[in-house]
């Protein structure tokens, strides 16, 4: 059995460095297997998140040779023999330890999204939706919240200061799913522009490229949302109607809450 060597970033908020580890290779091995073997044999306190090991839960996001990827879906045989392989934590979020970052940004943003609000049921008490009307929303529901799109998005990757006013591709997908849901009646368009910072996105499609679920984030979520914002906000009739109604769409931030991590 041959060995594989990888360089794993070890450290915490105060700093760290890549450390070399060598473990035995197995057929079909993925990067997460290598990390687990390092834990078991060399570094029992090596911090890593994972759950399903099948690309379904989105826990084991990391940067492998600088590319945002799921460790459980990255096969070791993708790398040519002898290639220098590095595994580092996602860059957009603050490091807690080793490969684990503080992703609470995403959970805080999730709280600011106005929830699903369905229209009344059909007269017989049933709900009818047709497959062709939900196909596009089901694409968005494939999101496993790995936050790789958030990691790669240059609006927040290199600019912490934008995090306050920009929610990132994951939440544009979420907002698009709600906006395009055939039953939903809630209003979010003004909010999407004013508080989620859709305008910051200049559609470079980096998010789409790294999505492990192949969601067409830019084409199917972000661009249609941008179009809706434009027609709602810059259309003179819609503008006049909004003025007549008063500041109904104004965003009210939720009360700050204790430690819900």
């Amino acid at each position: 059995m041959t060995d594989v060597q990888v360089w794993v970033w070890r450290g915490d908020a105060s700093g760290g460095d890549f450390m070399p580890y060598k473990v035995a290779a197995d057929e079909g091995m993925v990067v997460l297997d290598v990390v687990h073997r390092i834990q078991a044999e060399n570094a029992p306190d090596l911090a890593v998140r994972w759950n399903c090991k099948a690309g379904k839960c989105g826990s084991c996001s990391a940067e492998i040779n600088g590319h945002p990827k799921l460790m459980c879906m990255t096969r070791m045989n993708e790398f040519p023999a002898g290639e220098h392989i590095t595994i580092s934590p996602v860059k957009t979020f603050p490091v807690v330890k080793d490969l684990v970052t503080d992703v609470s940004f995403n959970y805080e943003k999730a709280k600011t999204i106005p929830p699903f609000k369905p229209k009344p049921k059909d007269s017989d008490g049933k709900r009818r939706m047709y497959q062709e009307d939900i196909d596009r929303v089901q694409e968005f529901h494939k999101c496993i919240e790995c936050f790789l799109c958030q990691d790669v998005c240059h609006v927040i990757r290199d600019h912490d200061e934008n995090k306050q006013s920009f929610s990132g591709p994951r939440f544009f997908v979420r907002l698009a799913a709600l906006e395009m849901h055939p039953l939903d009646t809630n209003e979010r368009i003004d909010l999407i522009r004013a508080k989620h910072g859709l305008g910051f996105c200049n559609i470079t499609k980096c998010c789409t490229e790294v999505c492990p679920e192949d969601i067409h984030i830019t084409d199917n979520a972000i661009i249609p949302l941008k179009e809706r914002v434009v027609s709602a906000h810059y259309d003179p009739i819609a503008w006049a109607l909004r003025r007549m109604r008063g500041k109904k769409d104004e965003f009210v931030p939720p009360e700050p809450k204790p430690p819900s991590a």
């Binding site: 529901h141 809450k257 991590a261």
Partner: protein, 615 residues
């Protein structure tokens, strides 16, 4: 013990899978101050991995389906060991719980008429599973997660609770630690709902994630609760077997529901040789009829590929033992022959992706190699069927951690519905209890003792690698408490568990308390080993074969054992086992089940398989 962070709630829900989230939503809606505490990030619990669907007699595909048929299928699938009242409530309430998810934004696949589409699954007479391709669990957990967040329920993520606190007989809270900081945290709670799932990580080949360490079961028995049916473990027939890194990973039963066929290495559809008498009337006995069933389900009987999971897993095990398995010790599952590529990619997208990416197999063209994988435990904490109250006042349990609903074997699709039906009931009952119960008193001495225990691995200077102990535990359970069991092997398992327990007490922990998986595992080992012992002791007591428990030395299903649960309690630090009668099914429900009883002999793979259970 170091400084401890303290919180006070009416209801603390431990676990944020389907059952925990549903319980918390209910308790919160009823006005209880509610917290959700979970080991992983929110939305990553095991429910997210559920694939095939939620069983509910909506009657959208088969108008003749109703709760009575679902009740019948569940009870028969469970070899009549189920708590009948739970099976009844489940069958009656599952449709409302599924429709409720739709009210909260879930988008299930649709029928041509725009209603929720339902798919075939093992042991269900009618196509009954509401689904979203093969990622139903993701849809369910995200819907519940978004609902809980919208309702502003407090969530404590990456926080492991390790012991329940008690005030006399009743529960008073729980103590554990933040995974990120390693700091201790405690909750004072009038009521606690356990929704922590199972214990799959005690086995080598499992579909379960690291979280499945039996926490809730271990905490409950320590606090004085009863466990039942712990010998009833489910080996899902179709886990991946190759390459080694993915061994055990789940392959949804939906593959067979949507047309997949099992074959041995010579291409034989071997399931026809394993139809038990109990299911013979409902099952096609020729390939011709089975093939015809896919096209005309009204006038043909179902393929034996869709027998309940215990039957299929044992059959695969027998084929492999008889030398008719694949190179890597599995059998073949083939859907490419029956279905076009486009259909497979649409109905089973994540299976397509999983095999393509991880095994270099294109399931639209090639056969899958599959074999049994430990997937679920039917046994767990004994609960009252209506309220999910355990035998400890103030303590409730729902989902996989609770027992009774599934009897000796769970039908596919009945878990997601179980989570919703009994999660809601547990939340409701816990909220009601919290209103009538006064504030509990925290026993500071108990709290301090537990706290010191959690910190102890750092101070003990142990010499054992916790990962190595875990690995040996997995080998022990896999080899000795697997699909087919016998007395000498179970006894050997108990000896080895005792040794592992002694070694676990000397687990070596290095590094800081910040996000330290070695420390976390050292603490989890106690739960894993304790619950493994409960499984093994129960398996020794039940001297028959039924559902998820097969004894090579007692291969027959014994009607006498069909009237009993194996019950486990902890008294003076030791497990005490007893058998107690199960509740009798009332006459009007009994009539739904048919006159026959599960009988016959389980295929244990030690002899040439004939039509198993044929006598």
């Amino acid at each position: 013990m170091s400084e401890i962070e303290r919180h006070e709630y009416d209801v603390v829900v431990i676990g944020a899978g389907g059952a925990g989230l549903r319980a918390a939503i209910e308790a919160h809606a009823l006005g209880a101050k509610t917290a959700i505490v979970c080991k992983s990030l929110l939305g990553k619990a095991h429910t997210v991995m559920a694939e095939g669907g939620i069983a509910a007699a909506l009657g959208n595909v088969w108008p003749e389906d109703n709760w009575q048929v679902h009740f019948r299928d569940t009870m028969r699938g469970g070899k009549l060991l189920n708590n009948w009242r739970m099976a009844q409530l489940h069958a009656q309430e599952a449709p409302d719980r599924v429709l409720e998810l739709e009210e909260w934004g879930a988008l299930f696949d649709r029928t041509k008429d725009g209603l929720i589409l339902q798919r075939d699954f093992g042991g269900h007479r009618y196509a009954r599973l509401a689904h979203v391709g093969d990622r139903t669990g993701l849809e369910m957990i995200r819907t519940l997660q978004n609902t809980a967040v919208a309702k502003d329920i407090d969530v404590f993520m990456e926080c492991t609770l390790r012991h329940l606190l008690t005030d006399g007989e009743r529960v008073s809270g729980a103590i554990g630690y933040w995974r990120q900081s390693g700091k201790l945290i405690t909750f004072s709670a009038k009521a606690v709902v356990l929704a922590t799932g199972g214990v799959g990580k005690a086995w080598r080949v499992t579909s379960n994630s690291w979280e499945y360490t039996g926490d809730g079961i271990a905490m409950a028995i320590e606090a004085g609760a009863d466990l039942i049916d712990m010998e009833m473990t489910q080996f899902h027939p179709t886990g991946m077997v190759w390459p080694p890194s993915v061994r055990g990973l789940l392959v949804t039963e939906g593959v067979r529901g949507d047309g997949g066929t099992l074959r041995n290495k010579s291409g034989e559809r071997f399931m026809f040789r394993y139809i038990p008498e109990f299911f013979r009337a409902d099952t096609a006995d020729t390939e011709k009829e089975a093939d015809a069933w896919y096209e005309d389900k009204r006038n043909n009987r179902r393929t034996p590929d869709l027998l309940p999971r215990d039957e299929v897993a044992r059959a695969i095990n027998s084929e492999v033992k008889a030398g008719r398995g694949t190179e890597h010790g599995g059998v073949f599952l083939d859907i490419a022959t029956r279905r076009p590529a486009e259909y497979i990619r649409r109905r089973l997208p994540s299976m397509y992706h999983q095999f393509k990416e991880l095994a270099d197999v294109d399931i639209t063209k090639q056969q899958m190699e599959i074999g049994p994988t430990l997937h679920y435990i039917m046994g767990g904490i004994r609960v009252d069927p209506d309220t999910e109250a355990t035998t400890v006042p103030g303590l409730y349990a729902a989902g996989e951690v609770a027992a009774g609903m599934h009897g000796a074997n769970r039908l596919g699709g009945n878990s997601l519905s179980d989570l919703l039906v009994f999660g809601r009931r547990a939340g409701e009952a816990a909220a009601a209890y919290s209103k009538r119960a006064g504030a509990p008193k925290i026993d500071e001495a108990q709290l301090a003792a537990f706290g010191q225990g959690l910190e102890a691995p750092f101070q003990k200077g142990g010499d054992e690698n916790p990962y190595a102990i875990h690995s040996e535990l997995q080998d022990t359970m896999q080899e000795l408490v697997g699909i087919i069991r016998r007395r000498d092997e179970l006894e050997e398992a108990l000896v080895r568990l005792e040794r592992l327990r002694a070694r676990a007490a000397r687990a070596r922990v290095t590094g800081s308390r910040v996000y330290n998986p070695g420390w976390h595992l050292a603490l989890d080992l106690d739960n894993l080993i304790g619950v493994s012992e409960a499984v093994t002791r129960s398996a020794l007591v039940r001297e028959e074969s039924r559902g998820g428990h097969t004894r090579e030395d007692f291969p027959k299903t014994d009607p006498e054992w069909g009237t009993k649960n194996v019950v486990i309690r902890k008294r003076d630090g030791h497990l005490v086992l007893a058998t107690e009668p199960i509740a009798k099914v009332p006459a009007e429900l009994r009539a739904l089940l048919g006159d026959d009883k599960p009988t016959g002999e389980a295929a244990t793979g030690t002899k040439t398989p004939v039509a198993a259970g044929d006598d």
